[in-house]
């Protein structure tokens, strides 16, 4: 898939004899990915501040993310022009987001 291709930029050589390197890489990738997924899980139902492009700043209660981290489902989105009860935010629109734990 395109997602897979994007993830494996020449980093897994076709040649044999790199087995140890591959396993190490997989182990690192798993740890990094699991930590990221745990970060998103931790964010569930918390108020999150989003810094977006064009200087837009909003706050919302985080609900869930899709696995490709393209969209966030949020509630009580406080926009500059009012509150939207249920919303989807595009991760492409974001520069960063933050929350207290």
């Amino acid at each position: 898939s395109t997602r897979f291709i994007a993830l494996c930029p020449t980093s897994i050589p076709a040649s044999a004899g790199e087995g140890v390197g591959l396993e190490e890489e997989q182990r690192c990738r798993s740890e990094l990915r699991e930590r990221f997924l745990r970060t998103l899980i931790k964010m569930t139902n918390k108020p999150v501040n989003f810094d977006m492009y064009e200087g837009v700043q909003v706050q919302a209660k985080f609900g869930a993310s899709d696995i490709d981290v393209l969209n966030f489902q949020v509630s009580e989105l406080q926009t500059p022009i009012g509150v939207q009860k249920e919303a989807l935010l595009r991760c492409q629109d974001m520069i960063s987001f933050s929350f207290d734990v």
Binding site: T2, I12, V56, Q84, A87, D93
Partner: protein
């Protein structure tokens, strides 16, 4: 052969995704896959139930 689609890998026939996951994550693939699947199911369920609309309507970054 592999067309660019917007569908998440989850929605594809499972075998290809399983192979990709195995290649990316090795022995940990089932655990990562389970976490991702749970997250996607949550997302789908919330979207079905709450019918959220994109904000802003037009993407900030095209």
């Amino acid at each position: 052969t592999d067309k660019r689609t917007k569908a998440p890998p989850l929605e594809r026939p499972g075998e290809r995704r399983n192979a990709e996951m195995k290649r990316l994550y090795g022995e940990d693939a089932p655990r990562i896959q389970a976490m991702e699947t749970a997250m996607q199911l949550n997302f789908d369920r919330n979207c079905d139930r709450l019918q959220p609309k994109y904000w802003p309507v037009i993407p900030l970054k095209l």
